[in-house]
């Protein structure tokens, strides 16, 4: 199925990452957004508020992030594709509802434009320190998807992908921007609606008597319904059985929670999105994402000029993490260099996946600025020694 042309602003634009994100959500079919103002993310919904009244949809500015992050889920069960946008402090407040979306298998998108933390931190300056929070921030075990654009063009493209994955797997999908990517202005090409693939909602075709709301299909994902269609279904944040009824049994809990993780296995194994360069002969691999991947690009070029066989591995989907790819590389390279604007969050994940077969060198900075490319270059040189 392709995009509804009403929401697609086909053409060549010169816009920032936040605005491009907004255009991506519209192209993907989002017609409902709820938000609460927070720097550096607000421009996403500011543009949505300006665009949506002539397209046909709703933007509502809620009283806080708790409200915004659950209002979108009410809208989804009412039939909409919906998202919210925030940054660090607001992302912290949304955690309970990321868990609610996970357990109720509500397809929706959370856009987090990362800034320096903890707490109020650096409201106007970049960081990448919410990466582990995106994965593990809500209590309990569950699976999510997190995508990491590094340009305004990718903000558009991945916003569409985010919605598509959320519908395919019925999971909350995080769009992990950082302040630099969100506020960077570049050329963005928005294609014709017919060439934008949009994943439809997995509505059931079964009649109400035969429908069980949380009965997994062959790919472990259940089919959906929406309120008002006569199914008289129940959705709860309590552990529930296939009927959607609360259950206090350990075996129901174990079956449900495992499925919430396992349904994402196709993404972890093989479909993980990444961008690679020069890996065939690489002895050192730089693993990076978001704005840091663009700084790392310069360090990689400098390393190659100095004769170091350095390769690039850019995480486009940080979660599920491409463990299998990293493990395979670990068997044939000396080291991974992981620059990031936090104190080594994804470096730990690289190290875990490498299983001791290659060194992992974390090049960390707590944020507020991007790395000096020379710092990354030095780490590459050290790794190659």
């Amino acid at each position: 199925m392709h995009a509804d042309p009403k929401g697609v602003l086909t053409g060549v634009h010169f816009i920032d990452g936040d605005h491009a994100c907004c255009e991506g959500t519209l192209a993907a079919g989002a017609r409902f957004a709820a938000g609460y103002p927070i720097t550096p993310s607000t421009e996403v919904v500011e543009r949505f508020a300006s665009r949506i009244p002539t397209i046909g949809g709703i933007f509502i500015q809620m009283e806080d992030e708790l409200a915004a992050s659950i209002a979108i889920q009410g809208a989804v069960w009412g039939g909409a594709k919906a998202f919210t946008v925030t940054s660090g402090p607001g992302f912290s407040l949304m955690m309970e509802h990321i868990g609610y979306a996970a357990i109720t298998e509500t397809p929706c998108v959370f856009i987090d434009v990362q800034r320096g933390g903890p707490s109020t931190g650096l409201p106007t300056l970049p960081a990448q320190a919410d990466m582990m929070q995106a994965r593990w921030g809500s209590h309990g075990d569950y699976g999510i998807v997190a995508l990491c654009p590094n340009s305004p063009q990718e903000c558009f493209d991945l916003a569409v992908t985010a919605f598509n994955l959320s519908e395919e797997f019925r999971v909350p999908v995080m769009m992990m921007l950082d302040e630099c990517v969100g506020h960077m202005t570049e050329k963005v090409v928005i294609p014709e609606a017919e060439s934008i693939a949009v994943t439809p909602r997995r509505y059931t075709k079964r009649p109400p008597a035969e429908y069980r709301p949380f009965e997994p299909m062959v790919d472990l994902v259940p089919e959906m319904v929406k309120a008002g269609d006569g199914y008289r279904f129940h959705v709860t944040g309590l552990t529930h059985d296939e009927r959607g009824y609360p259950s206090m049994h350990g075996d129901t809990q174990d079956r449900m929670v495992r499925r919430l993780q396992d349904k994402l296995k196709p993404l972890a194994n093989g479909r993980a999105l990444c961008e690679t360069e020069d890996l065939d002969d690489a002895e050192v691999v730089v693993v990076s994402y978001e704005i840091t991947s663009r700084v790392a690009q310069r360090a990689l070029q400098a390393a190659r000029r100095q004769g170091i066989r350095a390769g690039k591995f850019r995480l486009v989907s940080a979660w599920p993490f491409p463990s299998a790819r990293i493990r395979e590389l670990a068997g044939r390279v000396k080291a991974f260099v992981v620059p990031e604007l936090n104190l080594g969050q994804m470096a730990l994940e690289v190290e875990r996946a490498a299983q001791g077969k290659a060194r992992t060198i974390s090049v960390s900075h707590a944020g507020g600025t991007v790395h000096d490319p020379d710092t990354i270059l030095e780490a590459i040189l050290e790794a190659a020694r």
Partner: protein
Amino acid sequence: MNETTLEIPCEIPEDARNPVEPFLRMDRMPHIWCAGCGIGTTVNCFTRALLDSKANLDKVAVVSGIGCTGRVAGYARLDSFHTTHGRAIPFATGLKLANPELQVVVYSGDGDLFAIGGNHFIHAARRNMDLKVICVNNMIYAMTGGQTAPTTPGTAITATAPYGVSEPTFNLASLAEAAGASYVARWTTYHVKQLARSMEEVLKRKGFCFIEVLSPCPTLYQRRNKMGDGLDAMKDYKAKSKVRNGAPTGECALSMTGEIVVGKFVDRERPDYLELLRAQMTETLGDRYAEPEVSCCSEG
């Protein structure tokens, strides 16, 4: 009180059904509520209201938060959502805006709606969001074992105020009116006819409507405060409640032992959220304004 004897026929015919059964998920019975609890009574009134209002049940959704009353969503045989603690109203807001033909009922407790969820209540009332909020007020956090709520009246003993509550309470009716609710009423579980009628009334009208129902909690609130059982609560409600329709809500505060003012306090016309939105957008954008059509499609 008059002594009455209920005549129970010796043989109940096999096909006999309680008339509220079609409104309930009978496969989930028995429910979790304690003997003497009033929540079931309110649900009974709600089913009567659904019946009498002739609402299309496929188009009624119930949204609950967390707590004893939060379990209502699970027993109502309607599209029903048991959300997170305090967030039934914002969830219901999204549901209503995405699908305005739904009649969205928020059914939750006093702690859920007015402590953790208090901010959402006042903002939904301010917006005049077309939601029907039914608050079962048992004056306590019951599910978690009887802790102080923002409605627990002064000097009552609770699990977290073993020497008596010293905080002032919210007057929910007054709060709802001040925040902008279109309709405000209060009843007790003794007033089943009036409560069902109020519920029917709000199901037929637009705007943010609020019904507070005082309901006994014999297990926690009454036991700790030596106030007897569920029947004693009924006697208490009967003795102390006074119907004062149209009473100024500021004069309707509740106390532990004082008069219980009940009735319909507020019933006023205000444009609701979607009407205001449409008016403003049409004013500003004219023909360019597109009515919200938010539903996404499935394949084919």
